[in-house]
Structure formats: C-alpha cells, structure tokens
C-alpha cells in the first residue's frame, strides 16, 4: 500500500508547528492541509471528534492527535536515521518531563502576557522569565536539549520560537538579556532547515496576534 501522510495544521499554532518540524527531521513527505479554525472542516471534526483541534496527523487514514503524542509516533514509525528520543530510559523520562513542562507551564504562562494588563501582565512576564531560566538551566552547555543532536524537547520548544518576538513586545522585555544561552539555542535551531522552513515569519505572528486580541476583545 502506498503510504499516505496528511497533516491538518494551523500556520500560527506552536503545537501544530511541531509536526512539520518532526516530519522534516525524519525526511518524511507529507500533504499539508491548512485548517480554518473559525469554521472547522468535516475532515478535522471526523479525525479529532473529541478535541476538534489541530494538529492531527493522518497516517494511512488513521488519525493521531495531540502534538507531543504525534511527535513520539513519528519517531517510533520512521526509524531510519537519528532518533528524536534518547535510547536510555532515564534520558527519555527527562525528555518527556521537559516537553510536558513546556506544555503545562511555559506556553500557558506566556499567553497570559498578552491576555492580561497591568499587574497581571507583569506577574505573567516574571513567571515566564523564570520558566525560561529553568529551561536554560536544563540546556546547560549542550548545543541542543537532546545533547549533540536535535531531539524531542528541541522539536517541542523550537516550534514556539516564532512567537518570542510578539511576547517581547507585549511584555516589554528582551529575551536576549534574560536568557542569552537560550537565545543562542534559538539561533542554532533557526539554522536547521526543518525549523526555518516550518516556522512563519515572526512579524506575521505579531500581526496575527493583533487580530486575535481584537477578536477576543482584548485591545
């Protein structure tokens, strides 16, 4: 059977963007279908009836949902070349922990920066910077979170890089000043074709954020 790989995504979603990065790292060809989240397609609703969200990877007509689950699936199916996950169980647990931390703490906290005003915004910014410093500590002197090779946590976090410019403007801070080593990691990731081809321009994200805030009545 000829293999079919279809990705339902949204160009600005830091969760959805993880998937084209992972597929590119593995050299997997796929068909991309951009989704209109304000008017969800039948295909999306059928493929992810429970959450009705992107991303969804449809591999040989079987849908896989939830971005980190999809990335692990990609790593487990396409095993030629290098793994995104380490081999050692303890290192794997560590990778899963940090990817989960990014989902549980980092992205949600950062969203509060642009969703709130005044003191609440300042608190969110402070908490976000603390999260970044923790991540910077975990990175240490390694080129990537995965060590010498670009790995699971790198996929999970590099997808968010296109949003950093917007967060800096909204929060009135510079990530370069707060976590310089992490910004070096960002530059390293952006030099990878898998990341630079997948991510939209950061100014486009900022424009999108402006429209999103208006739509949510946050302006």
């Amino acid at each position: 059977m000829a293999e079919s790989v279809v990705l339902l995504g949204f160009w600005a979603s830091p969760y959805a963007l993880r998937v084209p990065i992972a597929l590119a790292e593995k050299g997997v060809e796929f068909e991309y279908k951009e989704q209109d989240l304000s008017s969800k397609s039948t295909l999306l609703l059928q493929s992810n009836p429970i959450h009705k969200k992107v991303p969804v990877l449809i591999h040989n007509e079987r849908p896989i949902c939830e971005s980190l689950i999809i990335v692990q699936y990609i790593d487990e199916v396409w095993t030629d070349g290098s793994s995104l996950m380490p081999k050692d169980p303890y290192q794997r647990a560590n990778a899963r922990f940090w990817a989960d931390y990014i989902d549980k703490k980092v992205i949600g906290t950062s969203a509060r920066i642009w969703k709130s005003k005044g003191e609440a915004k300042e608190t969110a910014k402070k908490e976000f910077i603390e999260c970044l410093k923790l991540l910077e500590g975990e990175l240490g002197d390694k080129p990537y979170f995965g060590g010498d090779t670009f790995g699971f946590v790198d996929v999970a976090f590099s997808a968010y890089c296109c949003w950093f410019y917007s967060l800096e403007i909204e929060g009135n801070f510079k990530m370069e000043e707060e976590c310089p080593k992490l910004m070096e990691w960002v530059k390293r990731c952006m030099e990878r074709e898998s990341v630079s081809k997948a991510l939209p321009d950061q100014h486009k994200i900022y424009d999108y954020l402006g429209h999103l805030k208006k739509r949510l009545g946050l302006e």
Binding site: E66, I70, Y73, E76, Y90, R92, D100, L134
Partner: protein, 226 residues
C-alpha cells in the same frame, strides 16, 4: 548513586501515586515507600521534585523521575522483560497515550469538581464528569480491560476512577457512572478492582471515604473555590 534501589514518594489517598504502586507491584519490583503528608512536604520530596513539589516521585538509583505518566513509561521501559504496559505498535501506543491524557485533563478535573463544588457549579461539573467518563468508556471497545484481555497502561492510569468514583457518589449522593448508561465502564470498575494485584493494593475504603468527606468540606470552604 545508590545502586538499583527504588523508592516511591507517595501519599496514601493520592490516585496518581497509587497508579505507580500498581505498576511496581505488577512488574514485581521491590521498592521502599515513603508516605508524604498532605500539608507538609518533606525536604527530600522538595529536593527531588523542586518544580512541582508533588507526589508521586520515583527515585531509582538515586535519580528522581516525576509526573506519573512519565514515571509509568519509565518503569515500563526499564523493567521490560515481562508484563509490558504499552505494546510495541506505535499506533496503539499513540492511542493509549491519547486516552491517558484525556482522562487526566478532562475526567480528573470534572470528577474533582463534583467533590469540591456545590449548587449550579457542581451540576455543571457532574455533567462534564458524566460526559467525559462516557467518552472514556468507548476506549474499552467492549473489552474486559482497556488493555484487552489483560490489564495494560490505560487500566493503570484510569484505575483510580474505579475506586474514587463510587466513594464520591456516596459522599455527594450523586450518580456519576450509571450502570445502564455506561455498562462497559461500570463492568470495568468491577473487573479492575477484582484483579489480584490491584485488589491487594487499594487504600482502606472507610479511611478513604472519611478522607473524601473532610476533603469536600475543606474544598467548599476554600476561598479559591468558585
């Protein structure tokens, strides 16, 4: 490094810690158990889990692993000779991981909401709990266990529901899992709780019932409750 010693930091009523004890027992792993107090966290717990400061924490050979779903996969991958929780098939693994997340992200807060709220807020939580549990029941696919004929990853992650839900129904006098509405899930409660290793590793019923009653009082009185 302290060799291969395994220590589990848990709390006797905590569902997320109980799932780790079940996993360790199913794999026949010898471990030392440290029961943490709900209100005061030990210095060791804070040292091993500085970010979340919560149980469960598994310490293996001196190295901590935190977050119950992460710990479960670690146990499965480290003690990988028999009684595997997850299969080898990437699609089945993805489906199991999906339902574990769904259960933790949707069922857990709704069920806790039924326990911690009153009036309209409780009614809303009840509806969400019933809907999410009904959806979760579909993952059984008519089988005895989520793992098929044998207990698997999803039985371990969802197991706390079979024990907590009937007790919450007693405490609140509300029905979360009706036998007629959710016959598969209802049957799974019995099948899971009857499984030999599980049966021997349940918190004492009366003690947990009393704990849930006073927990409900504390949560309703809490200023953060809305």
């Amino acid at each position: 490094m302290e060799g291969d010693e395994v220590t589990l930091f848990g709390m006797w009523p905590a569902p997320m810690a109980l799932r780790i004890e079940w996993a360790l027992k199913l794999k026949r792993i010898k471990y030392k158990y440290i029961d943490e107090d709900h209100y005061t966290k030990s210095p060791l717990l804070l040292k091993y889990n500085p970010i979340y400061k919560k149980v469960p924490v598994l310490v293996h050979g001196g190295r901590p692993i935190v977050e119950s779903l992460v710990i479960l996969e670690y146990i499965d991958e480290t003690w990988n000779e028999d009684c595997m929780f997850l299969t080898d098939d990437p699609c089945e693994r993805a489906i199991a991981r999906f339902w574990a997340r769904f259960s933790d992200d949707k069922c857990w807060p709704a069920i806790v909401g039924v326990l911690s709220k009153t009036g309209e807020a409780q009614e809303k939580a009840l509806k969400e709990a019933q809907e999410s549990l009904k959806t979760l029941g579909e993952a059984l696919n008519g089988n005895k266990f989520f793992g098929g004929e044998m207990i698997g990853y999803l039985d371990i992650t969802n197991g706390w529901i079979s024990y907590w839900v009937p007790l919450i129904e007693v405490v609140t006098d509300l029905k979360l899992v009706d036998e007629n509405e959710m016959p598969s899930l209802h049957a799974w409660f019995r099948n899971f709780l009857d499984f030999p290793v599980i049966k021997e590793m349940l918190p004492p019923r009366e003690r947990l019932l009393s704990h849930l009653k006073s927990l409900r009082e504390d949560l309703i009185a809490s200023p953060s409750n809305s």
